[in-house]
């Protein structure tokens, strides 16, 4: 009943059944009748590769590893994980790390890294760089009301115009879903090679369903799934120390999804209120609360990721 559009470029003003400007049918299909772009598409110039690609490729030759942090669901801890991963990598004095926030409408990376008021940032040691639309807004109150093509334009600029320098890791934090931002990042980085994606979930079925869709997305576009991280799994009451399940895994949690889809479960991180607090204050949770079971879980996951990437 519902045809799933294959990743392809569709302009903003295209008709709803646009075959995509790179398609063989571009400018020739029935849907193209009356489209303002019909002549351009029919002429064949759109079938060539994106003109930004060589610039992105050039810039990315200096970036050794590119890792995506994905989740179909929002609010499961993508940005928190991306930031922790960045801090963890950067704790090695020989490692340069960059975080690129492609959540254009809801950028959280500046707040989580504690650099929200800055316009351009390099950390004190100069080892962790970040780029986000959050640094470009006149005020954090401003809404970025953009449709896909404008978001894609900015993501292209992030990849080709930002002077990332020589990086060991580029961590890409994404918005929830499987839409413009995700397709753009994957298409732009395809030639340079994406080392893999880390998928973040919480234990509830509503989150798992969305993450299952994200796994499907990764397979469709050919991105390697490094593994699954289950956040907010269990909560230890600071009063009585009893563990309870705030977000109960009613359908078996991430473990079952991992088994069903053949994806590795990298680990489960318990809910610690200090994680959220650290994110709000822009400090590294791993450094602030080294005693927390969540820190141990994070570190194990990061260790496993390094193994999977062959960077041990």
């Amino acid at each position: 009943m519902l045809a799933v559009q294959q990743p392809s470029s569709v302009p903003a003003n295209a008709p709803e059944h646009c075959p995509g400007t790179e398609s063989e049918l571009a400018g020739k299909s029935a849907a193209c009748e009356g489209c303002p772009n019909q002549d351009v598409c029919a002429s064949g110039v759109t079938k060539g590769p994106d003109p930004a690609l060589p610039f992105v490729r050039e810039r990315m030759t200096q970036v050794r590893r590119k890792i995506l942090v994905l989740s179909g669901k929002g609010g499961v801890g993508k940005s928190t994980f991306a930031a922790q991963l960045g801090w963890a990598f950067a704790s090695d004095p020989d490692v340069q790390t960059g975080i690129m926030d492609v959540d254009i409408c809801g950028p959280s990376i500046p707040t989580i890294l504690g650099i929200a008021s800055e316009q351009v940032h390099t950390s004190a040691a100069g080892q962790l760089g970040a780029m986000s639309v959050g640094f470009m807004l006149p005020s954090s109150k401003d809404a970025v009301m953009w449709r896909g093509p404008k978001k894609n334009g900015l993501i292209t600029q992030f990849l080709k115009d930002v002077d990332w320098g020589v990086l060991d890791y580029l961590i890409v934090d994404t918005p929830p879903g499987t839409s413009d931002e995700h397709l753009s990042v994957v298409q732009l980085l395809k030639e340079s090679g994406i080392d893999g994606a880390v998928l973040i979930t919480t234990p509830q079925e509503v989150a798992l369903q969305d993450v299952a869709r994200e796994i499907d997305f990764c397979r469709k576009v050919g991105v390697r799934v490094l593994g699954l991280v289950e956040n907010m799994a269990g909560f230890v009451c600071p009063g009585c120390k009893t563990e309870s399940q705030i977000f109960r895994p009613t359908t078996g949690g991430a473990a079952r999804l991992a088994k069903e889809t053949g994806v590795e479960l990298l680990g489960s991180v318990p809910l610690d209120p200090r994680i959220g607090k650290s994110a709000d204050y822009g400090v590294s949770f791993l450094d602030e609360c080294p005693d927390s079971p969540a820190t141990t879980a994070y570190l194990n996951i990061i260790q496993r990721l390094k193994e999977l990437l062959g960077d041990n």
Binding site: V4, S140, D142, A143, P176, V206, D216, T261, L271
Partner: protein, 318 residues
């Protein structure tokens, strides 16, 4: 390490935030397929938040359940416009149902079965398998939303609740564009959690509603505090009070605080377990009823009643 040395300030000065060329006109009497289709709907309430995972779908579901029981004959519709991550089918316990085509358009799925007072539409009903990803760019999403608004046979409704994805992008702009002809019946509710990261995005969402001239009924602060089931100690897992503070500062009504309620989380999450590949489509039959009954027993339902009371007062004042 040199970072972002080039052209950064140029970019920032060129950021034009809104793609609307003019503010939306209020109550333009247009005759469009959408306005004809929605002509028998009294109130349209858009549930939004800049941030994902703060409880938009949970609030939308609770709103529909509460309004459903507010009057013995209330007719409620719920439209899920989160196309790449639809959660409403799961929460209403109608996961795996299909949509039928009638001569008069798509028949929504009724969560209360034969009573047919709680209608639901979501892209989730159109997927062959639950784990199929919907990989769409803007234009496709726009077309789907237009179709949801113009082709679904809602019939007469007292309330149509529209659940949205996070952000302020294609889905939101399309919704407002297509609903322009019924703008005088539109309202918004903003959901946030008390964390700073969520409040920043909620603020963006409020700026969006102002830019498109959408009246905001109020702000709901969700996930504010968690009561330990063992000792009763309240932990502010995601902090507390931020939503109320934001409402006060911005001069927007505050609708209430909802704590993390595991009972509710489980109720909305734990529809009968079906295989994720969708091989077996369950018939939940009268589960809609069960859901309403079980919902009314939760602590959240009692707290949510205050939210709905404030909402109804506002709607009747207009």
């Amino acid at each position: 390490m040199r970072l972002f040395s080039q052209g950064h300030h140029d970019v920032s000065s060129r950021l034009v935030l809104s793609s609307f060329s003019a503010p939306m006109a209020v109550a333009v009497a247009q005759d469009t397929p959408v306005s004809r289709r929605l002509s028998h709907i009294k109130h349209i309430i858009i549930v939004c938040s800049g941030k994902g995972g703060v409880g938009k779908s949970s609030v939308a579901t609770q709103l529909s359940l509460s309004l459903y029981t507010s009057l013995p004959n209330a007719r409620v519709g719920i439209l899920d416009t989160d196309l790449t991550g639809p959660s409403i089918p799961r929460m209403l316990g109608v996961d795996g149902h299909g949509v039928h085509q009638s001569s008069d358009g798509w028949v929504p799925v009724y969560a209360d079965a034969s009573d047919a007072r709680l209608a639901c539409m979501s892209v989730g009903f159109l997927l062959k398998k639950k784990s199929d990803s919907v990989v769409w760019r803007g234009p496709k999403k726009n077309a789907m939303i237009r179709q949801f608004l113009s082709d679904v046979r809602w019939g007469e409704l007292d309330y149509l609740i529209i659940d949205t994805p996070p952000g302020t992008s294609d889905e939101h702009l399309s919704l407002l564009e297509h609903l322009n002809s019924v703008h005088d019946r539109l309202y918004a509710i903003i959901v946030t959690t008390p964390q700073a990261v969520a409040l920043i995005d909620a603020m963006k969402c409020l700026s969006f509603t102002r830019a498109v001239n959408l009246p905001v009924i109020g702000i709901v602060e969700n996930m504010s505090g968690y009561v330990c089931p063992c000792c009763g100690e309240v932990s502010n897992v995601f902090s507390t009070g931020g939503g109320e503070e934001m409402a006060r500062k911005e001069g927007v009504p505050f609708l209430g605080i909802l704590p993390v309620d595991t009972e509710l989380v489980t109720l909305l999450d734990a529809a009968d377990v079906t295989p994720r590949d969708g091989s077996e489509i369950m018939d939940s039959g009268s589960k809609g009823f069960g859901l309403v009954k079980r919902y009314q027993e939760t602590t959240s339902a009692k707290l949510f009643k205050n939210v709905v009371d404030k909402l109804l007062r506002r709607l009747s004042a207009d």
